[in-house]
């Protein structure tokens, strides 16, 4: 009896082995484990702690929390009419007739416009008053003629500075000086 082995498949290897420099890709690295990364993080924290010896440390109270800019929408006055709205500073609206109160709320589905376009399209019910910087700061009251115009014009009045809406702080009301008491001082018997 003869035994015969027949090889059905040819053994042709096309595998190329290189030293990692000619791969056309970065060389292999062993992926660090979680435990190894924890140790490296501790080392990193130690290095960060040692840096404090070189210069004074930055603040530990977070200024990004205490001085975060307020959201534009919630901190603005909305003017909305005829499918469009715009924003002005809250204290920029000096006067609005009660019959226009519904135009200070955002309606759903409207488009946002810049102030110039919105004002141009709504001059029939909006007017502006130019103010100075010290008036905006509340250090000087508006002129009597302007104040009278604001009350009588029957329109929504927006304060502007060089044509841009600006907040106008109220002028502080001076407290009347307290008269010196004339009552006689009491003395111990």
């Amino acid at each position: 009896m003869n035994s015969q082995s027949i090889i059905l498949l040819a053994a042709v290897s096309f595998v190329a082995i290189s030293n990692g420099e000619n791969l056309g890709r970065p060389p292999m690295r062993k992926a660090p484990t979680n435990e190894e990364l924890v140790l490296r993080l501790r080392q990193s924290e130690k290095e960060m702690s040692e840096m404090k010896e070189s210069r004074p440390l930055s603040t530990t109270s977070d200024p990004s929390v205490t001085h975060q800019p307020q959201d534009l929408i919630s901190s603005s006055k909305i003017l909305c009419y005829n499918g469009a709205l715009t924003f002005v500073p809250k204290l920029a609206v000096l006067q609005f007739p009660q019959n226009l109160a519904d135009r200070l709320k955002a309606q759903p589905g409207v488009r946002v416009q810049n102030w110039q376009d919105f004002y141009a399209a709504n001059r029939s019910w909006i007017t502006t008053v130019e103010v100075s910087k010290i008036q905006a700061q509340g250090r000087q009251a508006l002129g009597e003629d302007i104040a009278e115009h604001i009350v009588k014009c029957g329109k929504l009045v927006v304060a502007t500075f060089n044509g841009n809406p600006i907040s106008v702080n109220p002028v502080p009301v001076r407290q009347p000086s307290v008269p010196v008491s004339n009552s006689p001082t009491t003395s111990k018997p």
């Binding site: 498949l9 970065p26 930055s58 200024p63 416009q113 810049n114």
Partner: protein, 377 residues
């Protein structure tokens, strides 16, 4: 002084380009907050995607904060794109983060290694509107340039001599990619970093590993933000100017990829057609390619084998991805001879090549034919 504010407006508008340039549903506003007591606000709203505008109000002497907002019409929402404090004596700062992944970095910028930094003090330059990124196990560098600090007059107020350097950490959570992130909830890292007290390009801060929260350090996903802030200014009696952010930059941290293959067991002997093999890739790094390759012999490093058809995936998105791939019909043709073979899953990223899983098995397709031959005269 208006020139200064104009320059800041240009910077604002560059940011708008990335967000709302071609989208008519966004309208841009610049809010100038004049830091008087009480503050005065003016809105500049005719803001085109590119261009220059004068600030509505001169910033002297109290200083002003400029906020660039874009407002979406439907649904109505506002987004703060950038905020910058401007004053006549406020120091200037620039923060630039660099990682080993060149994504978001200008092509002509210095390399991550920056070997000549000590001599020429050149900082890398990043592309605007692209967020730098790295992997949870990789280091990164933070460059800071400061100018305008008073380094000669010891009697100058603290606000003129120092700036704070802050590091904020924020995790995206399991599977998160940072959408709808409320950055006001970022955590100020401890220990605090040292202040800057000199002008010029500072030596880069080398962060060997991200410190964002996560029990499994291989699976971090989140972002780190570095910013330079002015100090609170109490130098003028009766007037306090709060700290202001002078510059900021952030990077995203993405998890390490893991993967597995199933369908063939270790040391299994295959005599006929190879079974279907399934590859699971989890958290592939953005811009990486992940694939399985086969080669003859035992497991070896840095081998170029035959890429298994159907296993290759490029992650072309900007966030990690999960994929499940299976071998194609011509999978069998790769294995051209009997013997020991290895299949391994590799993921190739700008950092390195990592092996995610492997299996070594036997192929024995030789048919032994045993027969008797008899002859008859």
């Amino acid at each position: 002084m208006k020139i200064i504010s104009q320059l800041f407006c240009v910077q604002f508008l560059a940011s708008v380009m990335a967000f709302a340039q071609a989208d008519p549903t966004y309208t841009n506003f610049v809010r100038q907050v004049q830091l008087t007591n009480p503050v005065v606000e003016t809105y500049l709203s005719n803001i085109l995607p590119t261009g220059v505008n004068d600030s509505p109000m001169a910033i002297k002497p109290e200083g002003a904060r400029f906020e660039l907002w874009t407002v979406r019409s439907t649904p109505l929402n506002s987004f703060l794109l950038q905020s910058t404090y401007v004053n006549s004596f406020v120091p200037v700062a620039r923060v630039v983060i660099d990682t080993e992944d060149p994504w978001g970095k200008q092509l002509d910028s210095v390399s991550y290694e920056n070997p000549n930094f000590a001599m020429n003090k050149v900082m890398p330059v990043n592309t605007s509107a692209m967020v730098r990124r790295t992997r949870a196990d990789r280091p990164f560098k933070v460059y800071v340039f400061t100018d305008g600090l008073n380094t000669t007059d010891p009697t100058a107020p603290e606000v003129a001599k120092k700036v704070d350097f802050l590091r904020h950490l924020q995790s995206y959570g399991a599977g998160g990619v940072g959408d709808e992130l409320n950055r006001s909830q970022a955590i100020l890292a401890t220990p605090a970093l040292p202040q800057f007290t000199s002008n010029g390009v500072q030596n880069p801060l080398v962060v060997s590993l991200s410190a964002i929260a996560g029990a499994d350090r291989t699976k971090l996903r989140g972002e780190e933000t570095f910013s330079v802030w002015s100090l609170e200014d109490n130098s003028v009696p009766g007037r306090s100017v709060p700290p202001h952010k002078l510059s900021t930059d952030y990077l995203q941290i993405w998890p390490m990829t893991d993967g597995s293959l199933s369908g063939i067991g270790a040391n299994q002997t295959i005599k006929f057609a190879l079974p279907k093999v399934t590859f699971h890739y989890n958290d592939t790094y953005p811009g990486s390619q992940t694939f399985a390759q086969a080669y003859k012999g035992e497991l070896q490093d840095n081998v170029v084998g035959a890429i298994i058809p159907g296993s290759h995936r490029n992650n072309t998105s900007q966030v990690p991805e999960n994929n499940v791939e299976t071998t194609g019909s011509d999978f069998d043709r790769i294995f051209t001879s009997d013997g020991r073979w290895t299949i391994e899953i590799l993921t190739v990223s700008p950092f390195d090549t990592l092996r995610l899983d492997h299996v070594t098995f036997n192929i024995d397709r030789t048919i032994n034919v045993n027969g008797n031959f008899t002859t008859i005269e």
